[in-house]
């Protein structure tokens, strides 16, 4: 089902025309309403009239997380506080939180975008959707919630935590779809299996996001729960979940590009790169009122493709995320992404995909330790077998990462489970 055929199935020309019109308007709006942007444009020798369409996008300066920090909390807002109906914030690992705001219309567009992704997952008004993202300053919970209501489905706002209650509600209310982080869904899957209640559930689909996940993880979720799992992407600076999502063909995430203009740039040269090539994703909001952002660098690494999808949608698609440029670890000169470890472990099939990478530097040499939880299903009481398993994991990871990690087996469920986002890396090198 396509939620908004008029927008999601436009021809390329129509879409680019719409984007151009909206970009010119948004740049004008930003210039006249946000002092920080006006100064930035003036410093670059730009006037709003210089931007006549999307082909002029590269003339505009980038926006980064630092710009949001420099103007903390609301310096980039383009409307007076009386027009702001909601605030969200993301906690920064370093420094202050990033505060974002929405007008009533921003919330409507956000709900529309989430609705489009829910439709991709086949969620309609007859569904009951459990929202197990955190409610609060995090955009996940309320963003998903408004989308579900907009679709007309029944929303069960469970937020995170209290797994027992989550499962009881899922069972008793006949929940047909769940929205949560993929790692939390993996955790729920384990609990469902432990309690042996899969047959009592009516779950058909999951719409997961807020952290990168792999195709292997999706396969596991789908086969273990007998459901369809979809990816929803977003970031609070741009809006929240719903910027993009994947359809039943899983050939990339359809971007709601009538509202968010995507670019892929080389992380080194900051110049645009072509379809299919991996680079940093950059978004320019086209319709945002409270917090319009111009060329915001997401730090997410992916590639983009155009062309009609088998589902009928024509919107540009993002490939599965490779990782974040700031998630990328450089260990002994090799680029390593946590997602590679997850994919390798899942492919092996003999261990749980719960891991923690600890990077350190000993005598000027980088070390990588990977803690992996022992899975009771593959647990042997012989030390010999456990040592063989450790060797096998080491080998598989070495093949995948091109560097040799030290693998350590740990007790199940000892690694921090995310009800929000999973902690996968501890880099002790950063002092």
């Amino acid at each position: 089902m396509i939620w908004n055929e008029a927008k999601e199935c436009m021809s390329r020309d129509e879409m680019e025309h719409l984007q151009s019109t909206r970009l010119v308007k948004q740049v004008n709006y930003v210039y006249h309403n946000v002092e920080y942007y006006r100064k930035k444009m003036q410093a670059a020798g730009l006037e709003p009239g210089d931007i006549r369409g999307i082909e002029d996008i590269t003339k505009l300066p980038f926006t980064t997380k630092d710009d949001l920090r420099n103007t903390y909390p609301c310096g980039l807002f383009a409307v007076p506080r009386s027009e702001v109906v909601r605030i969200h914030a993301s906690s920064g690992t370093t420094g202050k939180a990033t505060v974002v705001g929405y007008t009533r219309r921003d919330i409507e567009i956000w709900s529309e975008c989430v609705s489009r992704v829910l439709a991709m997952a086949g969620v309609g008004k007859n569904d009951t959707v459990q929202v197990s993202y955190g409610y609060g300053l995090f955009t996940g919970g309320l963003g998903a919630h408004y989308g579900v209501e907009n679709v007309g489905a029944t929303v069960v706002p469970l937020s995170t935590g209290n797994t027992k209650k989550q499962l009881t509600m899922m069972k008793d209310l006949g929940v047909t779809s769940i929205m949560c982080t993929p790692s939390y869904l993996m955790y729920l899957t384990e609990s469902i299996e432990e309690q042996g209640i899969l047959d009592e559930l009516q779950l058909k689909s999951a719409v997961c996001g807020a952290e990168p996940w792999t195709e292997e993880m999706r396969n596991q979720i789908e086969s273990r729960l007998h459901i369809k799992a979809h990816d929803i992407y977003g970031l609070s600076e741009i809006m929240g979940p719903g910027v993009a999502g994947d359809c039943v063909y899983h050939k990339g995430l359809h971007i709601n590009e009538d509202h968010f203009l995507p670019e892929i740039i080389s992380a080194d040269t900051l110049t645009p790169i072509g379809d299919g090539e991996i680079g940093e994703l950059v978004f320019t909001t086209l319709t945002k009122e409270a917090l319009p952002l111009i060329r915001y660098r997401t730090k997410d690494l992916t590639s983009i493709s155009h062309g009609k999808c088998d589902c009928g949608r024509t919107t540009a698609r993002l490939s599965r995320f490779v990782g974040r440029s700031d998630d990328m670890l450089i260990i002994r000169g090799v680029n390593v992404f946590p997602s590679q470890v997850e994919a390798a472990l899942l492919e092996m099939g003999e261990v749980s995909p719960n891991y923690l990478m600890i990077v350190d530097r000993v005598n000027n040499l980088d070390t990588l330790e990977v803690l992996v939880e022992v899975d009771e299903k593959f647990f042997s009481d012989e030390i010999k077998e456990l040592e063989n398993l450790t060797k096998k994991i080491t080998h598989v990871l070495q093949q995948a990462l091109l560097i040799a990690p030290k693998v350590k087996l740990v007790e199940p469920k000892t690694l921090e489970r995310s009800e929000g986002k999973a902690k996968r890396v501890i880099d002790k090198r950063k002092l």
């Binding site: 009481d381 007790e411 469920k413």
Partner: protein
Amino acid sequence: MILKQLSVFVENKEGRMKDITQVLKDSNINIQTASLADTTEYGMLRLIVSDPDLAKAKLREAGFPVSITDVLAVKANDSIGFLHDLLCKLEGNISSIEYMYTLPTEDGPVVILKVANPEEIEKVLEEV
């Protein structure tokens, strides 16, 4: 005799052994003997307990990976050459002994052996 032995994976972390004994004590389970095989990072605690199935359930609940393994129990006598004679009897019937420890009982010590084929070995010993 074949006994059900409990094997528990335990990380080398302070207080982890005590967590296990706490669970067993709270569940009113008697530990008849315990043997710990350790590596630098983790250990394997092998236990003969009064109620292995209950112990397994309770330890699982507490988050420990635990399994039940069949082991061979052979009554020992306190005499020179007992172990040697036992091993001689087993020779040719087993590929290897994975591990071995003793269990004290009211009737004296019992040797616990982990072998791949405990039922067969039990028959061999009965025949001798």
